[in-house]
């Protein structure tokens, strides 16, 4: 079974790096984007299995990215987990309605985030050999 590839979209390079370390330690492959525009470009180029998306982004915020993904036949089936510093009361419902599979406020609990990533990745529930 090939390793799942996750696209991390966050404008803060330190946070991107931290997530990359965390996900690679859990045997995920990662690719990265720092703004809305390159998020779409990377999604096309890399065809990730899952996207972790910040909402506050330059060059098209998270909602714009969600909207583009939803309306792109090649990308609409990729699940998106929103991970943002924004407040759930004002953002969660909007993000979910825009097509996000799950919503986390930063800082997210690592175990919980990994659990949802596992549950959200297509087909991954059938592979038992992935360490947690």
């Amino acid at each position: 079974m090939a390793t799942s590839k996750i696209l991390i979209v966050d404008d803060d390079p330190d946070l991107r790096q931290a997530l990359k370390l965390r996900l690679r330690a859990n045997h995920y492959d990662t690719v990265h984007a720092g703004d809305g525009y390159s998020a779409i470009a990377q999604a096309h180029k890399e065809q990730p299995n899952l996207i972790i998306l910040d909402l506050g982004l330059p060059a098209g915020d998270g909602y714009v990215v969600l909207d583009r993904l939803q309306h792109d036949d090649k990308l609409s089936s990729i699940p998106v987990i929103v991970l943002t510093a924004r407040d759930p009361q004002s953002s969660e419902q909007r993000a979910l309605q825009a097509g996000a599979a799950a919503f986390f406020q930063k800082p997210a609990d690592n175990a919980e985030l990994l659990e949802v990533i596992r549950a959200t990745l297509p087909h991954e529930t059938t592979t038992a050999n992935l360490p947690s």
Partner: protein
């Protein structure tokens, strides 16, 4: 120059007085345009059409008297200065009127034309001043709230960064960690988590203050929430050597409350109680009904700690209140927890209070509205003064597939609930408010006035309609089951409605049905022997 004249609305039923006022106003220096009506209702109607510079108001009118008169006018024209022109020289009434927002109280016959003109001009000025003060107060509040909400958002990014890298180090993702280093990292993590909680409280308090908290009330077994809160606090209490005890009245009906918020309040109260209780002490969380206040559940958190001084008690629910004698005073937090708790309880329609004796511990208590199934059921399961012949409890369980996204699942369950509400008869069936759920599984309940044979038509309809709800099939499964509710004492019901006290006995019967339904909800999982699954 007509539009430079002052528009005055005179509400006065005595034509002689009205003429006098008009005359005095016309005699005055500045031009005045007087619009006179003789009833309060006409005055209120006129206020819909015009916005006078000032209202001159007699209190005793054909359709309104005394304080009622000015109250209604103030309600309908909150921004127009009101000057009362009364025949009564009543200082008590005058002060009362001023405290309610009336600008002046003048006694007819004791006022000259120049005096009346001046009183009106001053009233207009004072009102304008008050309005600008109120506006700037609102602006400042709004600015403060925006600022705090911005700050708490911006603080989150660096906070997240620290959290991420500390956990990376702690989890050994960047190499081995020595035991001493690990201890230091844990200290950092604890502090970061404290900081995170403060940022959250800051935003929450700001929101409470500006009325922007949204509640998602559900039907909640308060005992379950107490047990969850206690389980979450067990480690903290254990480390300190403080016992955590629970005493919940298991017959307590459900409360109608937002489970996340109530859990937050409980954790906050328990956390405080543990903090102020010395090792070897105990914290007890209780929930019970109080017969003298039957519409509420009473929840209390009692500690055996140092107690709270009498002078501190009235202040303790205030924002930023800090007890100067608090233990381990180097880490006090923001002092927002109890303020938030008070606001949250208030939003639910309950109240929160404190009983304490220094040296003997404290008890924080709050109330939450009980969810009255009987009240909701009454119009549905009674018909022409008697209980309906048969009542069935229909249970709809939505189970997400193991890999369902919780976000999308929430949305799907909400749409299922809306669809379900369209599947029932409003006059004889009732979809109960959603139950608080531990996981993603959703249970919706319908009390239907029908028997076990006929309920199958309803179940088929529910099934057909829910299966049409977009994405349900690809994300979860649906189970519809039904069980008959045993009705109380069928023999006496046939006796009909001519008996005296029938209303009371009917209420009792409905209560009885409600109790049985609650019991079934509480105890019977889906697929019990007397239920029929499809």
């Amino acid at each position: 120059m007509k539009d430079q004249s002052t528009q005055v609305l005179l509400i006065e039923d005595n034509p002689g007085d009205a003429d006098l006022v008009r005359l005095r106003l016309v005699e005055g220096e500045s031009p005045v345009d007087v619009n006179c009506v003789n009833r309060l209702s006409d005055g209120l109607a006129a206020l819909k059409e015009m916005s006078p510079a000032v209202i001159l108001l007699d209190l005793n009118l054909p359709d309104s008297h005394g304080a009622d008169t000015y109250r209604k006018v103030l309600e309908n024209a909150p921004n127009v200065p009101v000057v009362i022109l009364s025949g009564q020289d009543d200082e008590v009434l005058a002060m009362k009127a001023l405290h309610h927002g009336v600008q002046d109280y003048l006694v007819k016959g004791a006022i000259s034309s120049s005096g009346l003109g001046r009183a009106m001009r001053y009233a207009v000025e004072r009102q304008a001043l008050l309005r600008s003060l109120e506006m700037s107060r609102k602006q400042q509040l709004e600015f403060k709230n925006q600022f705090l909400s911005h700050v708490s958002h911006e603080l989150r990014t660096p906070l997240t960064c620290i959290h991420q890298y500390v956990t990376i180090l702690l989890d050994g993702l960047a190499g081995d960690v020595q035991p001493e280093q690990r201890d230091h990292l844990k200290t950092i993590l604890r502090s970061v988590n404290q900081l995170g909680a403060m940022v959250r409280d800051l935003l929450e308090a700001t929101r409470a203050e500006s009325g922007k908290i949204r509640l998602a009330p559900r039907c909640v077994a308060i005992g379950d929430l107490i047990h969850s809160a206690v389980a979450m606090m067990q480690a903290t209490a254990g480390q300190k050597g403080v016992g955590l005890e629970v005493g919940v009245d298991t017959t307590l009906p459900f409360v109608h409350a937002d489970p996340d918020r109530i859990l937050g309040i409980l954790i906050n109260l328990i956390d405080n109680a543990v903090k102020f209780t010395p090792s070897g002490g105990a914290v007890t969380v209780k929930a019970c009904a109080v017969p003298s206040d039957p519409d509420f559940a009473y929840i209390s958190v009692t500690d055996t700690g140092c107690g709270i001084a009498a002078e501190a008690r009235p202040l303790i629910f205030e924002r930023m209140y800090q007890d100067l004698n608090a233990v381990s005073s180097s880490r006090k937090g923001l002092g927002l927890g109890l303020f938030i708790a008070k606001e949250m309880v208030g939003l639910h329609g309950g109240r929160i209070w404190l009983a304490s004796e220094p040296g003997e511990g404290s008890t924080f208590s709050f109330t939450l509205p009980l969810y009255s199934l009987a009240k909701l059921l009454f119009p549905v399961i009674t018909h022409q003064g008697r209980l309906r012949d048969a009542v069935v409890l229909v249970k709809v369980v939505l189970r997400p597939l193991s890999n369902s996204f919780r976000g999308r699942w929430k949305d799907i369950s909400q749409r299922c609930l809306e669809t379900l509400q369209r599947c029932v008869y409003l006059d004889k069936d009732l979809v109960l408010p959603p139950m608080a759920a531990a996981g993603l599984e959703e249970t919706f309940l319908v009390v239907a006035s029908t028997d076990m044979d006929r309920v199958q038509i309803m179940m088929t309809r529910i099934r057909e309609q829910l299966e049409k709800v977009a994405d349900l099939n690809s994300h979860g499964s649906l189970e519809v089951s039904a069980a008959a509710v045993t009705l109380p004492d069928p023999g006496s019901m046939a006796a009909g409605s001519e008996h005296a006290g029938n209303e009371d006995s009917l209420k009792k019967q409905v209560q009885d049905v409600a109790d049985r339904v609650s019991e079934m909800v509480r105890s019977a999982p889906a697929g019990t022997p007397n239920s029929k699954s499809f």
